[in-house]
Symmetry: C2
Subunit: 337 residues, 2 copies
């Protein structure tokens, strides 16, 4: 059985840490793991699969020794600089930043949705934005059967998506509750504790945030529907982990609600949690540490001829980031057999 | 100048307390205030406008002494029983429960939106649901000018809307953070701390919650558009006070975005907070203790011919409940001059 050499870039960040956990769980046929980070975190000792590793500093010659696969989760600037170098040395990079996602030469992959695009890669595969990944896992089986006409997204996104400083802002707010003490915000422009911020990533000239633009454009690219009508409002909420989404969908075709639910139930990566009379619906607290996308509150939207409302929840650091990237690597290993 | 006798029913609850504050601020021409509550809270001493009052137990003969106006905020059962009694004794009741809202004989009033319906009352006026009030204050000026065709609501609702036990659930979650101690939930079926609950009020047979149904039906009634296409997903978030709403609106008519914003800016009860390049947008933390509805993130929805997305925030215990009810009383006093 073929074995591979694998690099994790950004190994000490929030997503890097989760990626190590996912790799330990998946036990892929990888014979050698190398962990990279910036000079600041290089030298850190980490334990992985019962062995100790020293995190190495990412340098221009880091990929000279030859890697099969790398997962990058170290921000857009690092990806822009080092992914092409890695690819030029024969490594296939799965990049978790937004740097290459809309590049027409780069496949943007969710393994349950468009695995067939993996083979088109020229050394770089983009991992979509967290909020997009969980949405398209639910949208794809519906689009296949009923042809999606329009999507309206409103998101409830956890602070872990903003990295350790976002997590610290919420944690500091909680710890200061009831005291008069001030605390410095590390990430967000306003307190996220006891507040909702309709502001994720930077604002664009058209009034949308980059996060909203990502959801719109990435949904179109992954579903291979470049003209799909999509709009989005993305919001940070005071939850540590797992994003929730209110998704309103209009279809071209008619549907029977029970058929639609069965269609979703049989879709890869989807778990239906929808028994409202018994208070069963997806919750951030239950999605944590899972790789599936939880779908519930599935009900007909009576305001259009053929439409539904959904409540979709997933672990944004796992399915929305680390797990999806490693599932892409897993898929490439399968395809290589 | 005519002076009035006023009763506050449910004076010791979350909304009752805010109503007392709003009454102290407004200094209406009221010569006598009487505070009622259930037998459990009767006897409580409260301070109001510098005087001490003893809260009285609400009884069937409580309105025999003659009142001009009453605000009821003591739940649907109390309203159903006592509002008709009060009305039969010549008191005009502004009822904050959902008991009479959809009764075709009962006006459902937001003073900025449909004050003309007040005069149709037969002794009971219904105060709309909190999430509806703030939405229609923003929708009305847009409907007048551009004719609303369809609305998609997704809400981010604070725990104060669920009363003191909802507040306690969030507070206990915060205080227990980082400990292993268990705490009993008083109100919600799951922890609201560090979680979003797509479940407000009870579930109906069609999969919607009663809260969602209220938003849909009350929006239609208040805007006097019984066939308006509206859908809603209502969600409780871990915020103590002030509801946020993501509202997607489709219009019959075309619009120019700057005109639309000016139209909203000039609308009664609306404050525009929309300068995203300087991180200005409505926030729950800023809406607290205000009676206005804050509107921002106003941007064209490119997924339809003529549509926008809005982010609308208001203090749910004030504008969404106590203040709106007392503004109705204020309007009646004006009309009585």
């Amino acid at each position: 059985m073929k074995e591979y050499k694998f690099a994790l870039v950004g190994a000490t960040g929030v997503v890097g840490r989760i990626a190590r956990t996912v790799l330990e769980e998946k036990k892929l046929p990888i014979s050698e793991y190398v962990f990279f980070a910036s000079s600041k975190s290089a030298g850190t000792e980490i334990e992985f699969m019962g062995k100790k590793y020293i995190v190495r500093e990412l340098k221009e010659d880091s990929f000279d020794e030859g890697f099969d696969f790398a997962v990058f989760s170290a921000g857009g600037e690092t990806s822009k600089k080092f992914s092409p170098i890695a690819a030029s040395k024969g490594c296939v990079v799965v990049d978790n930043s937004s740097a290459f996602r809309m590049d027409p030469e780069v496949p943007l992959v969710v393994p349950e949705v468009n695995p067939e695009t993996i083979k088109d890669n020229k050394g770089i595969i983009a991992n979509p934005n967290c909020s997009t990944i969980q949405a398209v896992v639910a949208l794809k089986p519906l689009d296949d059967k009923y042809k999606i006409k329009r999507v309206v997204y409103s998101t409830y996104q956890a602070v872990s998506g903003a990295g350790i400083h976002g997590i610290n802002d919420l944690e500091n707010g909680i710890k200061n509750y009831g005291t008069e003490e001030k605390y410095d915000l590390e990430k967000f422009p306003y307190p996220i504790f006891n507040n909702c911020l309709p502001h994720i990533d930077v604002f664009l000239d058209n009034g949308y945030t980059k996060e909203e633009e990502k959801m719109i454009n990435e949904t179109r690219k992954i579903l291979n529907k470049p003209d799909l009508a999509v709009t989005a409002t993305t919001v940070r909420v005071p939850v540590f982990n797992s994003h929730s989404e209110s998704i309103n969908i209009e279809f071209e075709n008619d549907f029977e609600l029970n058929d639609l639910i069965e269609n979703l139930r049989n879709a890869p990566g989807v778990i239906i949690e929808d028994d409202v009379q018994n208070n069963v619906y997806p919750l951030a607290m239950n999605a944590n540490n899972h790789d599936e996308v939880f779908v519930g509150r599935i009900r007909r939207d009576f305001s259009v001829k053929s439409g539904i409302n959904l409540w979709v929840v997933a672990d944004n650091t796992r399915k929305g980031a680390a797990s999806n990237a490693i599932q892409i690597v897993e898929k490439m290993i399968e395809m290589d057999k």
